[in-house]
């Protein structure tokens, strides 16, 4: 039984990680080596390019070309990475701030129609982005928001609010009311109780929520592609735009860029690994 178990886990581990490992290997190849009909996975310095066999000559070409734009494009991958960072961080900060205060309200106060409001908040997560992108685009055009950072920041904030509210409500529900009650008895206002008592205790929760909001904004594609296609372009849209390149899809560049793009996600996943379950189920399941 134990052997079977180990085999199954090993199999899943290999299948799960192999594409990522292949991504890593591809990032260090010359372009012709990435499209050969025999897989090359053995880095041997000085191996012939596009030869036969499994050896390839490792190179940093993919990474070097990341920083220089290829002809006809004004922005390099690093510009797009910066866009992703700006949009991701700003929308996360706003999401967490708004979500925490809203969650506090639902957690501590009796709000009329709370259940319906919370349902409304959750249902926004179910909407396919493509179903609402047309009215949003028209609304944005009137406000001159397409192709700006602000446009996507505001949109991502709105769409991460459901995650933020539900996650933070779960965290705040766990903070005993007794803490604020004593502060209130001592004469503090509700607002200052919020900032002095709740926020410090909710720090972990806010960090976890921030990570999930950031990952969600980081990986988002549907809205980014349709709203920000000519300015403030984020990394996933930039990669999608490399398809159909007449010089052949630049796989080493894409792999190198994808590696850099994925590293923050990996770091954050490791940081919140204890709260992963909670994060991916909107706080409805706690371990």
């Amino acid at each position: 039984m134990k052997v079977l178990r180990t085999l199954v886990i090993a199999l899943f581990l290999v299948v799960g990680c192999l594409p990522l490992i292949w991504l890593g290997i591809t990032a260090f190849k010359h372009h012709p080596d990435t499209i050969t009909s025999s897989a090359k996975f053995l880095p041997v310095p000085g191996a012939p390019i596009a030869g036969d066999g499994i050896a390839f000559s490792p190179t940093l070409e993919g990474f070097e070309h990341l920083a220089e734009p290829h002809p006809g494009v004004e922005f390099s991958f690093l510009d797009h990475l910066l866009n992703s960072i700006i949009i991701g961080v700003a929308s996360t900060l706003a999401s967490v701030a708004l979500g925490t205060s809203c969650a506090y309200g639902f957690s501590r106060f009796r709000i009329p129609g709370a259940k319906d409001w919370l349902f409304f908040v959750l249902s926004t997560r179910f909407m396919p982005p493509l179903a609402v992108v047309a009215p949003v685009l028209i609304m944005y055009r009137a406000l001159d928001l397409p192709n700006t950072h602000l446009g996507l920041i505001v949109l991502y904030t709105a769409f991460n609010l459901s995650l933020s509210v539900w996650l933070m409500k779960g965290f705040i529900d766990e903070i005993p009311r007794a803490y604020e009650e004593s502060a209130l008895v001592d004469g503090y206002s509700r607002a200052s109780a919020f900032f002095r008592i709740i926020l410090p205790h909710a720090r972990t929760g806010m960090a976890v929520t921030a990570v999930f909001c950031l990952i969600s904004a980081w990986n988002e594609f549907g809205f980014a592609m349709t709203l920000n296609n000519a300015g403030a372009v984020t990394v996933p849209v930039y990669f999608a735009g490399l398809q159909g390149n007449t010089n052949g899809v630049p796989w080493p560049q894409i792999a190198a860029g994808a590696l850099i793009f994925v590293i923050p996600i990996v770091v954050f996943t490791v940081l919140v690994r204890d709260h992963l379950l909670r994060g991916v189920t909107f706080g409805t399941i706690k371990q």
Partner: protein
Amino acid sequence: MKKESPLLKVGFVAPTLLFLITFNLYPLLYNIVLSFTNKQLSQDEYEFIGGHNYQAIFDAASNPKFGQALRTTAEFVLFAVSLELVLGFCLALCMQAKFRGKPLVLTLLLMPMMLSPAVMGLFWNLILSAHNGILNQVLGGAGLPTPHWLTEPSLKLCAVLLVDVWMWTPYMMLIALAGLNAIPGYIYEAAEIDRASRFTVFRRITLPMCAPLLLLAVLFRATDALKQFDLVMALTGPNDTSTQTLSALLYQLTFANQKVGLGSAYACIVLVLVIALATVFTRYLDWLATKRQGA
């Protein structure tokens, strides 16, 4: 205890709700308005044309696209979620035991679901290429058939399914693991005393006790799978009949065919379905919460 000023309550909650109303409710309503017009993507002016768009959608003879997209999406959701459930649950069963390096293995296993579908989907193009992709090279090397994943019509949806299952099986595993770990140890001990067979234990204890959480996972995953767009765009493009999910159809109509009015009509129908699903979902969440509190 002084009475809370209602203004304070509002102050905490209102900004968020306003945000959500602006970005979720308003587009919904505007969608409905747009669905009765013939707005084009690159033009500013448009006119109202009554229910013409809806008529075109339901006139199945001249427009099988909607039915086809519904069918494709339903197939996708059904197969994706089922496969992920089965595989995830099996993996969770194996991961239940303690072993050295478990946290590391767990984190590694969970990596695929945290990545951007758009970016990984693009890279999977290289892996699945019939010409020089590594998957076919591995299969060929092992003597297995090497199908043309991205060009054979019957296999294109399989390719999208493959990547989706690769990406989201860890999700199901994570939740199944939580479900399995929530079963108290004494029940297993009692079963052992009764000398119940492994299979009986599994059938009568493990599965039923996991079921509520598994169902929750299924619902979560199903609602996400319904939105499937990134992988379709990356692997086959939005105009391919074999993989045209609802979101891909919406993109094709609104952005490639530039018929915003018609796209909005489709979107309204999709949103009705989504709201129905969301209602079922939250009812179930409520039931689950009360059940767990009771138990």
